[in-house]
């Protein structure tokens, strides 16, 4: 009875009784989950582009971290050392293609898999021969401790409303972007130019609404103070409205500007499709997102939640990598060629895609991702042989997210990170601790039973 209480009831009561602590546990879990995602990302890249499960990814993380530390011990500054290590990873990719992959065209995936196991043993030995096998410290100048903003003289309400405003701006931008994409698709299907047609009425209403909300701040409460002093309830409310208004105005403005740029570009190139505004959107969305995240972090830290600065840095790195890789894979010639190679070697060759170049690019990219993971894991727990074993933690992440999905690797990592931490903290009394060590694998097992392709993987349908 006692066990059942501890297992089924106790944890929930604890969660509800101190929500701030629960929030901390979840945030900690999310942030460490991002670190798993980072390793899993390397696997996904190579699997997506060549259908090979690269057993050596974990060792590539170790090798990258060893090289980085080795270079730094020689007195090379951090940033230069990172650049040099990236070059080393590129060279490694070229050597791997020359020595191993070149002879494996059109072979069964299992044979390629065996080759990567061989590579694992080689790299492990080679790395330790070059740089020694003792545990090393990697210092990247970001403290592994909770964040605090003691000297920041901005009132809390100001931070909160910045957060709300920036989030609204993000959502509106996403919405406008989506609308534009759909319009462009329709225009394409009907053979007309996108960028013409109406929609301006909605825009006008939105803009007027936004302007009104913005102006009321000066009309209703011109003397409300936000910086330094305490703000009244009314002032906070007014501030929030004006921020949302500003966000609306900007969104409308950006939407029309982007559409105008799109139409102008279309006239210039005579193209049928009008998509060329990605970078405008990406920069805006990135800025708004950054604002939202930083305001959110400051807000959370101010209200007493502990956030680890190092893990936050890891999360930011992973997010950047994912966005860049996503665009690269989905929207570019080389990304398309990578996907083509994964689907069918012979067909890829027949359209003139060079397997060798593609493999070098894939392995070099996986090497760079390994370097990022190496910096973060090495900085967190020191550079040592056990770093290559984090590959084992990436396996459940992949099973959860699906082997072929970049977003899957991220979501899988987050789920496992949060699940682990929450289970460890709340279910320890019932199950006796050390849950963190096995939780991921049990979760993966459950997924294998019920959804073997993972959350985002492509369902394999065999026609018989």
């Amino acid at each position: 009875m006692d066990f059942l209480y501890k297992f089924l009831v106790g944890p929930w009561i604890e969660m509800l009784s101190s929500p701030v602590f629960f929030g901390e546990v979840v945030i900690g879990g999310l942030l460490s989950g991002v670190m798993y995602s980072l390793v899993a990302l390397g696997f996904v890249l190579i699997f997506k582009a060549s259908g090979v499960f690269n057993f050596a990814q974990g060792v590539m993380v170790l090798f990258a971290a060893l090289t980085l530390v080795g270079l730094m011990e020689k007195g090379i500054p951090l940033l230069v050392a990172i650049a040099l290590t990236a070059v080393v990873m590129l060279l490694l990719a070229i050597v791997i293609e020359r020595v191993i992959l070149r002879y494996m065209v059109n072979q069964e995936p299992i044979i390629l898999f065996m080759a990567t196991i061989g590579l694992t043993f080689f790299l492990e030995g080679f790395g330790e021969t070059l740089w020694g096998s003792d545990v090393k410290r990697l210092d990247i100048g970001i403290a592994d401790s909770a964040l605090s903003f003691p000297g920041l003289a901005i009132a809390n309400s100001y931070v909160i409303w910045t957060f709300v405003g920036a989030v609204t701006l993000c959502l509106l931008l996403l919405f406008a972007w989506r609308v534009h994409a759909i319009r462009a698709a329709y225009a394409l299907d009907s053979g007309t130019l996108a960028g013409s047609g109406n929609g301006s009425k909605t825009g006008l209403i939105l803009a007027a609404f936004g302007l009104a909300m913005l102006l009321q701040r000066f009309l209703v409460a011109p003397d409300a103070t936000f910086i330094g002093g305490r703000a009244s309830r009314t002032a906070e409310f007014v501030a929030s409205l004006s921020f949302i208004g500003l966000a609306l105005l900007f969104a409308v403005l950006f939407f029309y500007a982007a559409r105008w740029i799109g139409a102008w570009r279309a006239r210039q190139t005579g193209a049928v499709d009008v998509p060329p505004m990605h970078y405008v959107w990406f920069i805006l969305l990135g800025l708004a997102g950054l604002l939202a995240v930083s305001a959110g972090v400051v807000w959370a830290v101010r209200s007493g939640i502990l956030i680890n600065g190092f893990e936050l840095f890891a999360a930011a790195t992973a997010a950047t990598l994912v966005i860049v890789l996503g665009v690269f894979f989905q929207k570019t010639r080389i990304g398309r060629a990578l996907r083509a190679v994964a689907d069918d070697h012979a067909a890829a060759l027949s359209v003139g895609i060079s397997l060798r170049t593609i493999w070098v690019i894939v392995w070099a990219t996986a090497g760079i991702v390994a370097l990022a993971a190496g910096i973060i894991w090495g900085g967190k727990s020191g550079v040592q042989f056990s770093l290559s074993l984090i590959a084992l933690k990436a396996l459940p992440v992949l099973i959860l997210g699906g082997f072929t999905s970049v977003p899957g690797a991220i979501v899988g990592g987050l789920i496992i990170g949060v699940g682990e931490k929450v289970a460890e903290v709340y279910w320890s009394p019932a199950l006796g601790g050390a849950i963190e060590n096995w939780f991921a694998y049990i979760l993966a097992l459950v997924f294998l039973l019920f959804r073997p392709q993972g959350l985002f993987g492509e369902k394999i349908i065999e026609r018989v």
């Binding site: 698709a185 394409l188 299907d189 570009r265 190139t269 005579g270 193209a271 049928v272 499709d273 998509p275 060329p276 990605h278 970078y279 860049v324 665009v327 690269f328 929207k331 570019t332 010639r333 080389i334 990304g335 398309r336 060629a337 996907r339 083509a340 689907d343 069918d344 012979a346 067909a347 890829a348 060759l349 027949s350 359209v351 003139g352 895609i353 060079s354 690019i361 492509e458």
Partner: protein
């Protein structure tokens, strides 16, 4: 149906010539001393019973197989063998017997993949997808749309090809090859497994490609009706050897060909 008269073909310029090609796998001889040529602008059929070496022949031209003997002349340049990449960049495109499409990619992406060699922006721009790379995408997208319109498949533009019916997959594969703007198009059994209506559509596309774009076409096909209708000249292989070469009428009457297809009377 045939686009050109015999006299026109005889006067034409040779685009591709294979000379004395021999290919074996271990002890098995797939091709023995095969020579023939393909002239600019013609539709050339390669026929023969199963196992005659037709596919091997295409694989040699396309660079998948390296013959032990013989030479390949393409556009006046002589090679002992081609690399697939080299063949593609010098203007040879192909389709496959059992549809080799990129199944998880959309129709549009498959056709854009065919533009691979025509796009030149470097990795740096590609990763960021800004400036020149984005502009280049738009330009090539226009070409891809032309091909989609030409093949009458705009409705399946954004569908992953793995979900399409077989006949449409064949058409997308043709589209991908056309996107390469090839000088020589190799079609491996373009009508295999199709019903009558689909076969007629496909024949029309093959002839249209030949007429509109002036693309030289070499095709392998089992449907004799189609072959005799659309091709200008036919080469017949049997057990890896060439047994006949000429216009459809010549080949139809050839005693060796009849023997190869029907067996010897007892």
């Amino acid at each position: 149906m045939r686009a050109r008269s015999d006299a026109e073909i005889a006067a034409g310029q040779v685009l591709l010539a294979v000379e004395g090609i021999s290919l074996s796998f271990g002890g098995i001889k797939a091709l023995t001393e095969v020579s023939f040529d393909i002239k600019k602008g013609e539709i050339r059929a390669i026929i023969g019973p199963n196992g005659a070496g037709k596919t091997s022949m295409l694989n040699v031209v396309n660079g998948f197989y390296k013959p032990q003997h013989g030479r390949i002349m393409f556009k006046g340049l002589s090679h002992a063998a081609m690399e697939p990449h080299e063949a593609a960049s010098s203007g040879i495109a192909r389709t496959f017997q059992n549809v080799a499409l990129f199944k998880s990619m959309t129709t549009l992406d498959n056709i854009m993949a065919g533009r691979n060699l025509k796009m030149h922006r470097g990795l740096f721009w590609q990763i960021l997808r800004v400036g020149p790379a984005a502009q280049e995408e738009v330009e090539h997208r226009r070409k891809a749309e032309e091909i989609i319109d030409f093949l009458e498949i705009p409705h399946i533009r954004r569908i992953p090809v793995g979900r399409l019916p077989y006949g449409l997959q064949k058409r997308v594969e043709l589209g991908r090859a056309l996107a390469m703007e090839p000088d020589l198009l190799l079609l491996e059994e373009p009508m295999a497994g199709m019903n009558l209506e689909e076969k007629e559509d496909m024949s029309r596309f093959v002839i249209d490609v030949n007429n509109h774009f002036g693309t030289t076409i070499a095709l392998i096909e089992h449907d004799m009706g189609v072959v005799m209708d659309i091709s200008d000249r036919v080469v017949v292989l049997d057990y890896g050897r060439k047994i006949a070469d000429g216009t459809p009428d010549d080949v139809r009457g050839n005693a060796e060909v009849i023997k190869a297809y029907l067996g010897v009377g007892h």
